[in-house]
């Protein structure tokens, strides 16, 4: 009989304890980030898709068209083309496309590059309706950023 009353009292008490916990949480500030309206600062080592690096001294990209990245890529998603530089030695980059639908973000292209012409971008808002939206022309991106 005492166990019966004890259970009623301890049970009721535990219910009020539960209510106390939730009401405390009710008045605590919200912790969710309202993503499209606000974003967290980007971490410096974030690895998005690759991007060409701007050479401040020469005022162009750093690529020497060695094709190292194209050969290193395990997914075959990099295509690049170059032509003989006018009046000098070496080659100039004319086209650099990245097929991001195949890219696995392994970063081997960035590691293999002898002139550090490649880097990871901080792009992550990458939703789209078409496969073609993900074939990036990186040379055009670089020029758009520095024009």
């Amino acid at each position: 009989m005492t166990a019966y009353f004890k259970e009623i009292i301890s049970g009721t008490w535990s219910l009020f304890v539960g209510l106390g916990i939730t009401i405390v949480y009710f008045f605590k500030p919200v912790v969710t980030l309202q993503y499209p309206h606000e974003t967290l600062p980007m971490t410096p080592r974030y690895r998005g898709h690759i991007d060409l690096v701007w050479d401040e001294v020469r005022g162009t990209n750093k690529c020497i068209v060695c094709n190292g990245c194209m050969k290193a890529c395990p997914s075959n998603c990099i295509t690049l083309a170059g032509e003989k530089a006018e009046g000098g030695k070496g080659k100039v980059l004319t086209q650099y496309t990245l097929d991001f639908t195949k890219c696995s973000l392994c970063g081997l292209c960035v590691e293999v590059c002898p002139t550090e012409a490649l880097d990871f971008s901080k792009e992550y808002n990458l939703a789209g309706f078409d496969e073609k939206d993900y074939v990036f022309d990186l040379l055009k991106r670089l020029e758009a950023k520095h024009s």
Binding site: G18, I21, V30
Partner: protein
């Protein structure tokens, strides 16, 4: 000259007012529920549609109304269509006799309390018919649970009501409130001269009210993790919407009744400025608690639910009844 009876205008005003009040509450309690649930889980809740998400109920209603009203194969077409109405209409009917303030009452019936309980019991019938008419095994299981749950919880509730009627000596809701006016120490919840267990009686009434309106933690009718959506499984679009609104309308009726019976209706706690605003403040405070409880406790098991009623609530309610009658006889 065309003559309109003043009584007719009054009646029309009350019909429109009550339907408007119920519809507005049904819509905005959903918003309140989602906001409160959000903040308890440290989220924001609806915020995109209108300022503070205040237009969210309109968007929801629009979405439900654009949906096709399918009547599935094999359902009983009459029962299937009549069930949502049977849940919604009694809730609105109960407002006929609920007094909001000293003067704001549609019809002050002498058996008002009885009328409210008579209407409230139709709610279960609506769920039962809807579930049976759906011809869905989950719906039928849900209906069986709801009926046994409501039978179990109507007993302690009515025993508490009998106790209350013994104290007040009337079934007229207006008179019950009038007897409690003059400050919070006159309210039935603190009427220790009648029975020292009155706060317990209030808690029992509140628990039974939660069970009768099928609110969590007693939402056996719509145990979504076990029974898909229980009695509402086969209902598309606005058929489901009406059930949903009926649930919130029933919560409004239940909390209004708790306010009238135990918390002094429109009476101010300190005896100053009584009026309809006090009624609404108390009612919405109780609704806040109802939602707070839903987002605190998980759903009980079915056996736990029936054990609570038959082993704890009913004995305590009967003990309170005997104690009250003894105290009324002695003092």
């Amino acid at each position: 000259m065309f003559f309109i009876d003043a009584e007719l205008i009054r009646l029309l005003a009350f019909v429109l007012g009550v339907i408007g009040f119920v519809a507005l509450n049904a819509a905005y309690l959903v918003w309140l529920e989602r906001k409160e649930a959000g903040h308890i889980q440290r989220r924001i809740g609806p915020k995109e549609v209108g300022p503070f998400g205040l237009l969210q109920p309109l968007a929801d209603a629009l979405k439900l109304m654009t949906k096709n009203l399918i009547t599935p194969d094999g359902v009983d077409p009459i029962l299937f269509k009549i069930a949502p109405i049977l849940v919604m209409v009694p809730a609105i009917m109960s407002f006929v006799t609920l007094p909001f303030s000293d003067t704001l009452v549609a019809r002050n019936l002498d058996v008002g309390l009885l009328a409210v309980f008579a209407f409230a019991s139709i709610n279960v019938l609506g769920l039962l018919l809807g579930a049976w008419g759906s011809r869905n095994k989950y719906a039928v299981i849900s209906a069986a649970r709801v009926v046994s749950q409501n039978v179990a919880y109507e007993i302690p509730m009515l025993v508490i009501i009998v106790t209350l009627v013994m104290i007040t000596g009337t079934l007229n809701l207006h008179e019950i409130v009038t007897l409690q006016t003059g400050g919070f120490w006159h309210w039935n919840v603190l009427k220790f001269s009648a029975s020292p267990l009155m706060p317990v009686a209030f808690i029992i009434f509140f628990i039974c009210m939660l069970a009768e309106t099928n609110r969590a933690p007693f939402d056996m009718a719509e145990a979504e993790s076990e029974l898909v959506a229980g009695a509402f499984t086969e209902y598309p679009g606005m058929g489901f919407g009406v059930f949903f609104m009926g649930e919130y309308a029933n919560i409004v009726v239940g909390t209004s009744l708790a306010t009238i019976l135990f918390l002094g209706g429109w009476d101010c706690p300190l005896g100053l400025f009584p009026g309809v605003h006090w009624f609404l403040i108390k009612m919405y405070a109780l609704i806040f608690v109802v939602i707070w409880i839903r987002w605190t406790y998980p759903r009980t098991t079915f056996y736990g639910l029936l054990n609570l009623s038959w082993k704890i609530l009913i004995p305590v309610a009967f003990f309170n009844l005997i104690l009250t009658s003894a105290m009324l006889k002695v003092f």
